[in-house]
Symmetry: D2
Subunit: 351 residues, 4 copies
């Protein structure tokens, strides 16, 4: 399968997620970017002129000189990655799917739709089975939509999945400390976050609570069945550039010793990690023994930003265990997540 | 009672807590500082020379020129406030109590002792009844020890007390985001906290879990009875100067509507607030309606740093309610807490 | 003169400078706010609804309930303070002056006009003599425009003025490190400034270079004569909330010993400070002896934010001396500057 | 010359500079680390146990398992890199040199000695000629000492060298904004730098002023001749992790157009860059056209932290030109500087 180089179009290419997608696709072994699309104002300009590049690594030269196109079909590509803003993503992504393009989206618009997979390759690859139904429902021939979860949901669910498989999970209580890059650019005003924490991110707690249940749930051939897990989230913005840190308490269906919990993380080996997807590190879950880890700045880049780092497992006086989990919000939690989804689709012959 | 000016000695006067005590005692209506004591190295120097003043307000001129004494009795004062480091506080405070001085301490050493009050004036003034027993146990005539809680416990317990009175509390799960000033000076290295969160503070989670149960518990004439509340804490250091922010989930004994919960906070009026203690604002609990408050930088100075600000009450899918609480860690959580304790003792004729 | 309470209108009342003006006018002994004006969108709303209050002190209750008016004459007031944005300030301020209102403006639009005073009360009160000419030039009867300098110019010029009087100044080379609040709200994106310095602020170096020469120059009855001082500025944005820090090198016309330089600052007593203007601290220049001061966080609030703090005087191997100066950019450098200008006008019977 | 793998010993291996040296020597094409040395307390432990690793990249596994030795000869290596603290570096480095080891040191102790090269490979390779004299002076056979400059001097001098060659330089006035990592670990307390700038770094201004003159000066066969350049420095600590930013004003001996200045930087090609030293990027000076660059976070990693980035060239109203320069203080300014020095020594057959 890896022989073929797939042609990729990036929607919302000038935004923060689009920029990160371009950086991550530089020298990608399976994918080559053949189209960059953004808003009308950007269309017709070179990417270098259209985008205010935010990453600390330079814009790849192949991207700098590409002419940005309008975010509308047709584009010369095999599939599209969408970093579009929620305000416009819903309709544009449907247009591409209707026009025959597989769409892998980071936007929230279609995530909770009954016939759209909300996908983390290592967690719920089986949800891809819904694609046939999606096409039928919507009268699409070849195109379809797959989404990746919200940035604060992904790390949490990656850490929960091995525990769910090993012990069952009934309750999850999480408090997040989220990086400023999660709000895009210009995003969080420096006057709001210097010497401060903002204990509110619009819509975020709802996303964590609903997406987690869908991701850890099943697909019965007809529809998604939410996992029967009570999820409670409190979301905060902290003065960190990249990396969402989360304090989690969890209740299992079965008793488990601490060693067994750590073993569940360390030995977790879903089918997907055996497919050799280029963006999935092996292991993709790292358990750190140090008493003060994970930390955003020190651990966010583990596994080129695609690993999920867990630490501080200890018994919880209320639920069963508490622990800390960290993931890079713009790589594992956004652009890298969409690319990994595309890799899984490629590996399964769905592109 | 307010007619008398009490003479105060400050132990550990050169440290961070001692400095804050001095700043707060500047122009205090009941207390006048007559002795500053610190380590042997500081003894004999003027306070201006002995202390590396950290606060952004200037050192009061009366303090600057005082000669620092050794932290040992006798000192010319009616009682002592102790900002001593835990490493030495235990023994020195006992020496002062044995020598006849009431000791009000911010150190952790005696907090959990069976005959020492762990005191928040608005929460558990009745715990002072143990002082007679303490004197008898220890063979002290006039002196005694009273302690204030850990900085991350105080805000939490102030927010819980009205709920406990109104509805009963069975479970409390809290994740803290604590300011760097809580670690003293030089304390947290800038290289550890810039663009980072440290999800670990040594001994902190244990303090929150044990102190909360003592503070919300009773005194049966013989001994303290811990409240039957399960408490689970996760403690983090964030890049904030002052102000500990805490995300709390709580389970009540009885059902309560949200309006009733907010009313419990707003109408809470313990006997103590009627005593007119100079350091206790009325109300001392502020509930904010804004969806993104409290925030450390914007709310920590409410009630000259002695108010506790609560916000974001909403139902918790696992326990009953979740909310956010903030308090100033070096004022309400340390120096101001000890001074408020002293004020209560003065008002009750115990100094 | 102080008997009368002047009625003040605030233009641009919802912006950052307007907010600071309102906070500083709370309980002002001479001025009472009788009108708040802002853009069309805000007009008709209560100030509490119209403004996104950014300061850490609460909005004064008298302001919260005032109804915001359109920024156009007439307003019920004796004079207006303008915190308007440069984009609209030019025209609106002229409308008010033409309608008979004295206008004291923080905007840059009229600062360098040949008949408009650019005023720091302690530095160039004599420039007010131009007002008659301004009225004549523009056909205004009663109204006129007075401006305060750019936030990074004010601290510099306050520190230079005593040196100019004592020794003459021929060259000034300054590198600024400016706070984020200088860019307004939302202003600087947190992603741009976290773990960073931005060595560029649009138009800032030009303002420092031209305004300094006007402020330290004279008025010959006909026109302003720029001081014959070469000024070179490099301006940087640093990760500080409030307080512009500036490293200065200066060349004098005459030789001077270091003690004489410090004495020039400490003994500087312009006529204006004897007028008892409520916003001008006495002394308004503070020279600190410590080797590592002034610092933004520790010194910006000196003299309720209206003092200018100087330190680290030492000989410069290229020009004569180098030193460091700090001033609060939104108080001394903006809102407080305009209010002080108004106080001087009141004291001189010009309102 | 590149055929041989040199064996390197690292002195002060557990400190911040030593850690960075180890990270940079991982997979070095010419050098392989064969000895790690530190203080008595660390000696005998594995490096993983002895060092509190501060870098965000993991400790190389070959280093983690090495046993730390005492910082005294003999060590099994061809030369030593010294990241020792100034407090002990002077004596220990002399012991190694006396014992026959070439010593390349980041410490300040020997930098200004009359017979010790203060070396930047691209700037003053000819200074190595002093080594024979050094050996003779000190009675050393094979060993010798070479030093790299202070972290804030290096970037400045790299930017000045091409200008000196092209136009001559007579005056340099620089204001630095230096990163916290320059102070080592724990170094700068977070309470000192959050929301602040500290306008003082002990001894730093003197180092910049004296080292610059030595580096840009000559060696006449007998002794170093300081460049006849007046240098004036003001040094500040800002809230940035890595990367020293410097605002420079410079006066030339000859007139030059701006284009010529930029061309001098871009075309600068010292002999050394042709030697193919592995740590020297080509070009090693980058001139950025953007009006707001260089910035620490966005440019410090250019040329794997060994490039020097310059920007914002414009005429200075007092000296001739002003510009901004940035270099990574712990790579180009410390550990990488010493390694580059060692590479030059290797290329010249001096190891």
């Amino acid at each position: 399968m890896n022989k073929k180089m797939y042609k990729v179009g990036v929607l919302g290419a000038t935004g923060m997620v689009g920029q990160r997608m371009i950086a991550l696709l530089d020298n990608h072994p399976w994918f080559t970017v053949t189209a960059l699309a953004a808003s009308e104002q950007s269309a017709g300009k070179s990417y270098a002129d259209a985008a205010t590049w935010q990453l600390d690594t330079p814009v790849p030269s192949w991207a700098a000189s590409m002419i940005v196109q309008k975010s509308a079909p047709p584009l010369d590509c095999d599939f599209v990655l969408s970093g579009l803003d929620n305000a416009v993503a819903g309709e544009i992504e449907e247009q591409f799917a209707a026009a025959g393009y597989p769409v892998i989206s980071n936007a929230k618009n279609h995530r909770m739709a009954a016939d759209v997979p909300l996908l983390i390759p290592e967690v719920n690859a089986a949800h891809l089975d819904v694609i046939d139904r999606q096409r039928k429902n919507r009268g699409w021939n070849k195109g379809f939509i797959v989404t990746n979860p919200n940035c604060s949901t992904i790390g949490l669910v990656c850490a929960l999945k091995p525990l769910q498989e090993a012990f069952g999970i009934t309750k999850v209580l999480v408090t997040t400390m989220q990086a400023i890059s999660g709000a895009g650019y210009p995003g969080v005003a420096s006057l709001d976050i210097l010497d401060n924490v903002v204990p509110f991110i619009k819509g975020e707690e709802e996303k964590v609570e609903t997406e987690t249940r869908k991701l850890l749930g099943g697909f019965d051939g007809e529809r998604f069945i939410d996992a029967e897990i009570a999820v409670s989230a409190q979301c905060n913005r902290v003065h960190v550039r990249d990396g969402h840190l989360e304090c989690v308490s969890v209740e299992f269906s079965e008793q488990a010793e601490p060693e067994a919990v750590i073993r569940a993380w360390r030995s977790f080996a879903p089918e997907t990690t055996k497919l050799g997807l280029p963006s999935i590190p092996d292991p993709f879950i790292i358990y750190k023994e140090e008493e003060n880890r994970p930390q955003p700045r020190r651990d966010r880049d583990a596994g080129w930003g695609m690993a999920v780092t867990v630490g501080r497992l200890r018994r919880c006086p209320i639920l069963h265990y508490k622990f800390v989990v960290l993931s890079h919000n713009t790589i594992r939690g956004a652009a890298g997540a969409a690319i990994a989804d595309a890799e899984l689709l490629a590996a399964k012959g769905l592109l």
